[in-house]
């Protein structure tokens, strides 16, 4: 047993580390060991279910899926290889998300900072809020056809709402004392907004951006599943039409990887911009 006591400001932190004996029960109950067990058994069960055809021919083995993924890397589908399709989806997400955030974040901030804007926009916003963005797909197709514009439109709608909501609540939950400090130091309303409202709402803004991005991925997939000639959603639906489950699964895995990558990237930017934020986890 080793005990480490340290004191920072008025907090006392006590850390206790117990060294465990090297025994079988400790190895088995080690968390990282269990991660490996879980992962391996997941793959094994997947392989067994697929190879024994418990679900008929509608599930591919992990090996087949991997092979299909490497095949997609080289073979061109509809004029694009896998990287081309990944880029097609990511580009839509980024364009749509940027437009949605560029309108949504300022609107949310305006709503929180000015009660007249709030009184005018809030009821309208509440009217549209419960409508899922995917419900707009049909309208988007009626308005913009099945081209690029309709997909970007849905992503704009989907990413707009969380951006507004989080910008709004991010400013609303700022502690009054912070404003008092600026006023005591002789700042005017403009200083309050620039020095308190903007930086203090950043963590909430980033939470909104993460939600926006995950909704954007859902939207782009749905749009591509309904009508598209490129993108990851198209690969999945193509796999379905060709009855190739390995293609569907490969597409799903790639989506998971790309979405995780984007999430981690945004998380990194957030850490750079708001170093004071403490993680709840």
């Amino acid at each position: 047993m080793s005990t480490d006591t340290s004191s920072t400001a008025n907090e006392i932190i006590i850390q206790t580390k117990a060294e465990k004996d090297f025994s079988l029960i400790n190895i088995i109950s080690n968390e990282y060991f269990l991660y490996v067990v879980s992962f391996v058994s997941f793959i094994a069960i997947w392989h067994y279910v697929a190879a024994a055809q418990l679900l008929g021919k509608s599930l591919a083995t992990p090996m087949d899926t991997l092979q299909e993924m490497t095949r997609l890397m080289t073979v061109k589908l509809a004029g694009k290889n896998l990287l081309g399709h990944i880029w097609a989806s990511t580009r839509r997400v980024f364009i749509g998300f940027s437009i949605g955030a560029a309108f949504g974040i300022p609107l949310g901030l305006f709503m929180a900072l000015n009660r007249y804007v709030n009184a005018f926009v809030k009821p309208l916003f509440d009217l549209f809020k419960p409508m899922p963005p995917l419900a707009w797909i049909s309208v988007a197709i009626l308005w913009f056809g099945i081209g690029e514009a309709s997909k970007i439109f849905i992503i704009v709608i989907g990413s707009f709402v969380p951006c507004v909501l989080n910008a709004y609540s991010g400013v609303r939950v700022i502690e009054e004392e912070l404003y008092d400090v600026v006023r005591v130091l002789g700042g005017n309303r403009w200083h309050e907004i620039i020095q308190v409202s903007f930086p203090a709402s950043l963590p909430a803004l980033f939470a909104g951006i993460q939600i926006s991005l995950s909704i954007s991925w859902t939207c782009v997939l749905a749009a591509e599943l309904v009508s598209a000639r490129s993108g990851l959603g198209w690969i999945i639906i193509r796999g379905m039409k060709l009855s190739k489950p390995e293609m569907v699964l490969g597409g799903m895995i790639i989506i998971a990887i790309v979405a995780t990558f984007v999430t981690v990237m945004i998380y990194g930017i957030e850490k750079l911009l708001c170093p004071w934020k403490r993680s709840v986890d």
């Binding site: 968390e31 009217l127 419960p130 197709i141 859902t218 997939l221 749905a222 599943l225 309904v226 799903m252």
Partner: protein
């Protein structure tokens, strides 16, 4: 008394603006369609939507069912999947928060499945379950289980360590601490997931029905597009929005009732 309630009178403009906003919105919508700035093949006016709604109450043509049946099917799918997600996700999250073995075994699979948007499961669901109700419930269930699990997990993690240490001092077993300390203190977070999960479920319900369905509100929307009837599309969207809002209010009432029992 040190404190005095001060009543502030809002300016008249603040009281009028909300109604003005909604009024202008509907007026512009009606005018834009009536004058023909947006052609009638692209947008329907509010009047046409209401007319179609009254018609659809009793008339199953041209999409096969009345609007009541569409809404009933959708609500059935969403609520079944939502309850299943709650019943399975919450215990999983609670166990993952407290027991290392549960966390070690469940976390990798959970983290593997989480980043895949539920919509991406649709093709596999069609392979496995056809376009019936089971596949849609599966997709909505996948969407709904994630917030339940994460919130329960975080809720247990956020338990005040002093309580746990005190329980340990009095010689409580792991299971007793879990049952009497961790679970009750995680409940606010668990109930907090009710609304989040509902929103996810409802969004993905529409997605699932757009692609694979022969009844339901999402199907109504996509039929409206195929038949080039913008009024039907808008009617579907409005009904989906209303339905989501109504279920949201019901969940809100339930949540408040549960919460009032916790916070004595």
């Amino acid at each position: 008394m040190a404190y005095e309630n001060v009543k502030t009178q809002n300016p008249l403009l603040l009281k009028i603006l909300p109604f003005l906003g909604i009024g202008i919105f509907f007026a512009v919508w009606e005018i834009v369609v009536d004058v023909g700035i947006l052609p009638s093949t692209m947008m329907a006016s509010p009047y046409e939507v209401i007319k179609l709604f009254i018609d659809k109450l009793s008339n199953p043509h041209p999409d096969g069912s009345t609007i009541g049946i569409h809404a009933w099917i959708s609500a059935q799918e969403a609520v079944t999947a939502y309850i299943l997600a709650f019943v399975m996700g919450t215990p999983l999250g609670l166990l993952m928060g407290w027991y290392k073995v549960a966390r070690g075994l469940a976390r990798p699979v959970f983290e593997l499945i989480r980043p895949i948007p539920p919509i991406a499961w649709i093709p596999l669901c069609i392979f496995w379950f056809g376009i019936g109700i089971t596949g849609k419930i599966f997709i909505i269930w996948i969407a709904g289980i994630v917030p339940f699990t994460i919130n329960a997990w975080v809720g247990v993690n956020m338990t005040n360590p002093t309580f746990i240490q005190m329980a340990r001092t009095y010689g409580a077993s792991d299971w007793q601490i879990f049952k009497t300390v961790c679970v009750p203190s995680a409940l606010p977070m668990v109930f907090g997931a009710l609304q989040i999960s509902l929103a996810y479920c409802w969004t993905n319900l529409v997605g699932a029905e757009l692609l694979a369905a022969d009844q339901g509100l999402g199907y109504l929307i996509s039929m409206g597009r195929r038949l080039a009837m913008p009024s039907m599309v808008v009617l579907g969207m409005v009904t989906v929005g209303l339905g989501g809002a109504i279920i949201g209010v019901i969940v809100d009432i339930l949540e408040k009732r549960f919460m009032s029992r916790i916070r004595r």
